[in-house]
């Protein structure tokens, strides 16, 4: 597999400008002759579809929800970073770049991250112009909050619903282009394969989720903006429909899958309450601005939290990391919570949670201020648990939240398959081994509004190979394969519901490829997953018919892909004999239990290549070089 990152030459702060100048353009009259197929209508997909249409391209956009507005981005809570330095507190493009590379534990590509930081400022301007109601000061200026892994206040937010407001902004831009006839939206449509013609991505096979009809789409380039794969763990903060299917189908067609084992476990989620649990709910990282994390110093202490005196509480983050305190990055905070619970100091009926306490903040700022900042999160917490965080501390525990891994892309956000571009959480580009809070929204919108509109034109002007139509034999082949898979799933006639398999897979992944990993566990998972997959294909029950709305068929298809994909994650975690960011190999830690990175041997992006069914995937490497940020041991002490 050829992995040329195509990083422009020159000093880092000039690379993007220089590249923008050097890229070939498509003239305005020709743009309308190109049809772009965009899969996904989240922040990345909607912003890309709208902007490309504004430029004149014809766009088809697909999503599996009934409306593009319901893409999973809608659920993001806390905020979006940008190097505006409105607070005059020392922020700059360079600092955001530096924080992101460091926060990612030095496993991201410098040039991409620098560009992300550069365009971050334009995102805020764009969103405000669209009418996104960001939080403001009394004087009318935009206000900011802090997020983990940063010592400046650069996070813009819209109460606890930042993702919703940003997505509704992108959705409105998309609607404008639908209204203008430049975007055709295909909701309730699932992409089931990408079609390659002469090695280039030129089309899609989809299933209409209402009628079951399988269709072909031909285009001049394909964009996947299909989100993350955290649901491989079954329980995660992702929406129920979030999946790996489109990225995985592209992988099977030859696209490299980079760093699949880099998953982010978010430290502050509402703990699991029972077996029936279907998803986990995030309590935004922004809460750590004001909330203090603690456990009783004495593991035997069974008193209610409010009855435990200050002197008998261990504010373990403040103690262990005095300079960042409660605002250490996510991976650090999550592992620290696990450690407390593993050592018996966890609270709640299961012992699998720690306190997040607002009493001091309420005392200091008053209940009104706290309500203004976090009201909707507190309500959400109370609805789920029946307890009020105004009166007693929240109980929280880490949960799977985000996937840094994704399809490999070059500086132009193109995968190793020409014409196949990947944006947002679905690619691997910017967050290395750990994403900082409020940076996913930034990346999704950077990719869609400000990067792909330039780089896609360059592909069309230099790499494109002429029109293709859906009667090309490659479409026949892809459609047949998709139909055969649907028929196979419908024909198994088993007795066990899909979710039973999904839960079991999730448990395997959580136990062996979750917050902490080791060789033995990963090898065990590599044995268990194929066995589970075999049982799935013999005994899964898919009720109903394929030519109608059939949520069980949809789910079965997605879980079938997770059952293969989980294995690649384990291969990746096994190969990486170091600890970095969200990837913690128990064999590689310091005496104090901190992650032990090995830059000498593992400063690479691990890019996995499909080798056919039942064969182990092949590892390719993109060596990372760091010219600007010095590799040091990440310290938040």
């Amino acid at each position: 597999m050829e992995l040329d990152a195509k990083i422009p030459s020159g000093p880092i702060e000039k690379k993007w400008d220089k590249h923008r100048f050097e890229m070939k353009l498509v003239n305005p009259a020709n743009k309308r002759k190109f049809r772009i197929l965009v899969v996904g209508s989240g922040l990345a997909g909607a912003s890309a579809a709208a902007t490309l249409a504004e430029l004149g391209y014809e766009v088809d956009c697909f999503c599996f929800q009934d409306s593009p507005r319901r893409a999973h981005s809608i659920a993001a809570q806390g905020g979006i970073n940008a190097a505006k330095n409105y607070q005059n507190d020392g922020d700059s493009v360079y600092r955001l770049f530096y924080d992101t590379v460091k926060g990612g534990d030095y496993r991201a590509r410098e040039a991409n991250v620098y560009r992300l930081s550069q365009v971050s400022v334009d995102i805020i301007d764009q969103c405000v112009a669209q009418g996104v109601p960001f939080a403001r000061e009394y004087g009318g200026m935009l206000t900011n909050r802090s997020f983990g892994g940063a010592q400046v206040s650069r996070t813009f937010y819209a109460r606890g619903q930042t993702g919703q407001q940003l997505l509704l902004g992108a959705y409105s831009a998309l609607n404008r282009m639908i209204d203008a006839g430049k975007v055709t939206m295909h909701p309730r449509t699932e992409m089931l394969d990408v079609v390659l013609v002469d090695g280039h991505a030129r089309g899609l096979i989809t299933r209409n989720l209402i009628t079951g009809e399988i269709s072909r789409w031909a285009g001049d380039a394909v964009i996947l903006a299909t989100g993350g794969y955290g649901n491989v763990f079954y329980l995660s903060t992702n929406a129920k429909g979030s999946n790996v299917t489109s990225a995985f189908r592209a992988y099977k067609k030859g696209a490299g899958f980079a760093n699949p084992c880099f998953t982010q476990i978010h430290p502050t989620c509402i703990p699991v309450s029972g077996d029936y649990q279907s998803k986990l709910t995030l309590m935004s990282e922004s809460l750590r601005n004001d909330g203090r994390v603690w456990v009783p110093s004495n593991p035997e202490d069974a008193r209610a939290p409010n009855e435990i005196p200050e002197s008998e509480r261990d504010y373990y983050l403040e103690r262990r990391y005095p300079s960042f305190g409660n605002l250490v990055p996510r991976d650090v905070a999550a592992r620290a919570a696990k450690k407390e619970c593993d050592e018996g100091r966890g609270v709640g009926s299961t012992g699998l949670s720690v306190y997040l306490d607002f009493a001091a903040a309420i005392e200091r700022d008053g209940r009104d201020q706290i309500e203004d900042r976090y009201g909707n999160l507190f309500e959400m917490y109370e609805r789920i648990t029946g307890e009020s965080p105004y009166r007693q501390p929240m109980r929280i525990y880490p949960a799977v939240h985000y996937t840094m891994g994704g399809l490999w892309v070059d500086y132009n956000l193109m995968s190793n398959i020409p014409g196949l571009h990947v944006l947002g959480e679905a690619n691997f580009s910017d967050h290395g081994a750990n994403r900082l809070g409020a940076s996913a929204l930034m990346q999704g919108l950077a990719d869609g509004y400000f990067v792909i509109p330039y780089t896609l034109g360059h592909y069309l002007a230099t790499g494109w190979q002429g029109k293709v139509a859906t009667d090309h034999p490659e479409f026949d082949k892809a459609e047949e394969e998709v139909k055969a898979k649907v028929e196979k799933l419908m024909g198994i006639g088993g007795r066990t519901p899909v979710d039973v398999f999904h839960r079991e897979l999730g448990q395997i992944m959580w136990d062996h490829c979750g917050m902490a990993r080791n060789r033995e566990g990963l090898q065990k998972a590599l044995q268990l997953i194929p066995e589970l997959r075999e049982r799935f294909w013999n005994d899964v029950a898919v009720p109903g018919d394929s030519m109608e709305l059939n949520p069980w068929l949809e789910k079965a298809g997605r879980v079938a892909d997770f059952l293969e994909f989980g294995e690649i994650m384990c291969h990746d975690a096994l190969d990486r004999e170091e600890s970095c960011g969200g990837h913690f190999r128990e064999e590689y830690q310091t005496d104090e239990g901190e992650a032990l990175r090995d830059d000498e041997n593992y400063a690479y992006g691990a890019v996995w290549e499909y080798q056919g069914p039942d064969a182990a995937p092949k590892l390719n490497k993109e060596e990372l070089s760091f010219e600007y940020v010095k590799l040091t041991t990440r310290s938040y002490k």
Binding site: Q65, K84, S278
Partner: protein, 247 residues
């Protein structure tokens, strides 16, 4: 806790639907949708067809879930979507009747799943600010008072679920349309297009077959985001103003 469920079953848009009874063993900590998951898994294991329903985020923000529970859209708890409703809001032995949204403009696709694409079409008719990517000035060049920004936000919080329509005796989409009109008209960025926007969105709404608003107020009572009737007052004011200026 034992729950007796009576659920609307309908094969597809054109089929005749009917209620069907089920029994489920639930736990008070379960969400309402998790109770449906339990029901569906047991139906699948018995070889019966499970109940189709829309859902995705399961945390009250995507607007996908949509069940009429004992006659109320999203059930008995105020300011709560179906997915956020927990079984502790019910008692052991309760009988719960579950139906889809019912409105001419929301045809039933299957069981509890309805077609809400009419909502998207209303938004496409001007529910936006015309601004190309890359054109804007610095974000802080447009100061907006905190009170105005907060008020605009209150309307922008609409999740597009359609409970307002399901609750309205006329199946009117007035609150949904008004929320977007109010959000954008309260902000300076929305001012240049305010007249066209309100006219076009109201026309689109009428064209989709939603009923008229006769001020019942059921929409706000059912709204999981508690968007108030003042949105509708604002829409009416915008509409009047647009009408006057057209002459």
């Amino acid at each position: 806790m034992k729950i007796k469920l009576t659920v609307w079953r309908q094969r597809n848009r054109n089929a005749q639907g009917a209620f069907k009874d089920y029994e489920v063993e639930a736990s008070p900590d379960m969400s309402f949708l998790e109770m449906f998951d339990v029901l569906n898994e047991s139906l699948i294991s018995k070889g019966e067809e499970p109940v189709a329903f829309d859902h995705d985020c399961r945390e009250g923000i995507c607007g996908a879930c949509s069940m009429v529970i004992n006659g109320s859209p999203h059930g008995p708890r105020q300011g709560t979507t179906t997915c956020q409703l927990h079984m502790r809001s019910f008692q052991d032995g309760d009988h719960i009747v579950v139906e889809p949204w019912r409105a001419r403009a929301f045809p039933i696709i299957k069981d509890l799943v309805v077609d809400r694409s009419s909502f998207d079409r209303i938004q496409q008719a001007g529910g936006y600010i015309t601004v190309n990517t890359g054109a804007p000035q610095d974000a802080n060049a447009i100061p907006i008072g905190k009170a105005e920004a907060d008020e605009a936000f209150d309307y922008a919080a609409c999740i597009g679920c359609g409970a307002c329509v399901a609750a309205c005796p006329n199946a009117s989409a007035m609150l949904f349309t008004a929320s977007k009109v109010a959000h954008l008209s309260l902000l300076p960025q929305g001012a240049p297009e305010r007249r066209d926007r309100v006219r076009r969105m109201v026309t689109a709404m009428d064209g989709e077959g939603f009923g008229g608003c006769t001020n019942h107020g059921e929409c706000s009572a059912a709204c999981p985001k508690e968007i108030g009737q003042d949105a509708i007052t604002l829409l009416n004011r915008e509409f009047m103003r647009a009408g006057v200026s057209a002459k």
